[in-house]
Subunit: 390 residues, 2 copies
Amino acid sequence: MTTTYSFSDRMREIAPFRVMEVVERARQLEAEGKSIIHMEIGQPDFGAPRQVVDAAVRALQTLPLGYTTTPGIPELRDAISGWYSQRFGVNVPRERIAVTVGASGAFLAALGAMVNPGDEVLMADPCYPCNRHFVRMFEGKARLIPVDDRQGYQPSAADIARHWNPATRGVLIASPSNPTGTSIDRPALRAIHSYAKARGAYLLVDEIYQGLSYTDDAYTALELSDDVIVINSFSKYFCMTGWRLGWIVAPAALMRQVEKLAQSMVICPPAPAQFGALACFEPETIATLEDRRQEFRRRRDFLVPALKSLGFKVPVTPDGAFYVYADCSSFSSDSSNFGVQLLESAGVATAPGCDFGDYRASEHIRFAYTRSMQELELGVSRLQKFLRAG
Amino acid sequence: MTTTYSFSDRMREIAPFRVMEVVERARQLEAEGKSIIHMEIGQPDFGAPRQVVDAAVRALQTLPLGYTTTPGIPELRDAISGWYSQRFGVNVPRERIAVTVGASGAFLAALGAMVNPGDEVLMADPCYPCNRHFVRMFEGKARLIPVDDRQGYQPSAADIARHWNPATRGVLIASPSNPTGTSIDRPALRAIHSYAKARGAYLLVDEIYQGLSYTDDAYTALELSDDVIVINSFSKYFCMTGWRLGWIVAPAALMRQVEKLAQSMVICPPAPAQFGALACFEPETIATLEDRRQEFRRRRDFLVPALKSLGFKVPVTPDGAFYVYADCSSFSSDSSNFGVQLLESAGVATAPGCDFGDYRASEHIRFAYTRSMQELELGVSRLQKFLRAG
């Protein structure tokens, strides 16, 4: 059977996640009885907190769970507002907050409401691959700014200025960044915001890994100005990946457009997840999540030096998220192929650099420390054996 | 606070659902102590079947519920495949089925994978408003085909031919249709399929209300050909609106593109809903749903003649879904304003024709029979009192 019709041009520029091939191959190897240490996927090994599960179960058993309003149930928007106030001392009223189908849904609605064909949005290379794709979906173009360790893998205002052109309409900053785990500091972000604002462009800050910071000065871009757009997620710090829930904070005028577009795109975020997420901000849940954060930090403090001692270069210690973006050029100039070897010969699954951009992608692989210390130790010892043999 | 940046041009053509204003105003009236009969929203008054709730609760309490694969858990795709075989005698292998975030997610992924800027997609006027918006999001253009009662509110192949132009790339048929509740018959759909196929265009059939048919010859467009694209939902027949789950059936080549795009757009459909939906196809659940279908039929059989006796025109008896698209031109030539009067003076909430298109929209309102017989009877008696007084 063949289709007679053709696909849209955008599909030529929207790449699949290469890491899914790693996931698939890892599954095959496991089916053959091999043991695999999974450091490929950005998913906490901790499931949703017990309190969240309990709240969702209660909702399922007592509520009809029909459509909610498009921006989410008011109680959850209020809880997010309260969280910004309590954790970051920033006042974000409910009206500027909409709950979305994962952070993905927030990107779709925000960029759909802003990107015209031909518009350019500046973002770092490396970055989360979908960020490029979201812009491309709406016929815009992601202009990638190569960033490296000397700048903590974050663009500066000077980089932004250098890549600015007449089609530039927005800047996307991810902090902490996937895949590098590094954050942008306040002065740098403020300078970028001023530069963009002076040119009538928007600043969109991806704070999906917020909460997973191992420094004491974590902040939200919302403290800069009411016109910053922020996207967040219940998947990472709150460990609710499969539930598909995120949120967006946007200026009131943009929020009206986001809501209108989201009505058509999704009607509403999943109701069981929304009622579960209400429990995210309770003190007991936060205590659990803070314990987990300390565990992630212990893993980072083990993994980064361990990888360095094996010969990987990790020139900037990641301060957030749960990734190490490791330079593997001592071993290979083809990180995709190197990743295949690690999987096939050492039983260690990683994500290839090419999933995150072009700039020095073939010299990097990403390790996720989303497995127990015991598994990470086993992974490192397997890597050691493999690299010494090679 | 003002934003300095502007919104995308598409936002000028993507309208909000007017019915949401009705919903909001109905809430205000209820807060003031007024009683409102809700016939405005396309949401079954029955919640998800008990078996579905139980399955979701079991999954929440026993599984980590992380990301699933992008097209959904294999068990659910197999269950959908089995359903097509059992209910319609059509063989649809798992590989051609992907679970999505509501039917909305299916439209986004399918049209994103097919619509190029400037492409035109033919669809009926009236139709579900988001269908136009999905095409516009990707810079395509929905070309509306006015349809009326003489053709059962469904376009014929001759209509398709008359509206065909060099930019036409696809045809979207909704059957049973929202807002008219009417279905297209096999010969008409087959003729449209042949016409489109001969021109290298796709046929996309919206079967969101499948299962809610009050005739004996319900069928799926998948019986026509393997190259038809079908979109379905767990929201209507399966009564899982707030859970946000639907599915798409597409030819294998398109499915690869849909999957690639959905990886970026949503990562995966919500996991709690997926595990809950596994129970949808169990015999006990289907027995419950079939009882509900009979209840919907009883409501239709009450409401259609009742509306006619009040002076509404319903020239084609709806054979599916849970809507009556009523011609109110005997009372008003401005159905939006008429709907406001019905709400304010009679306490009956409806959806205005303008939500569904342009063609004779101001002469129609939509009644949803998603409330109990008792409420419908009360609604009709209120309408009667109001219309006689007027």
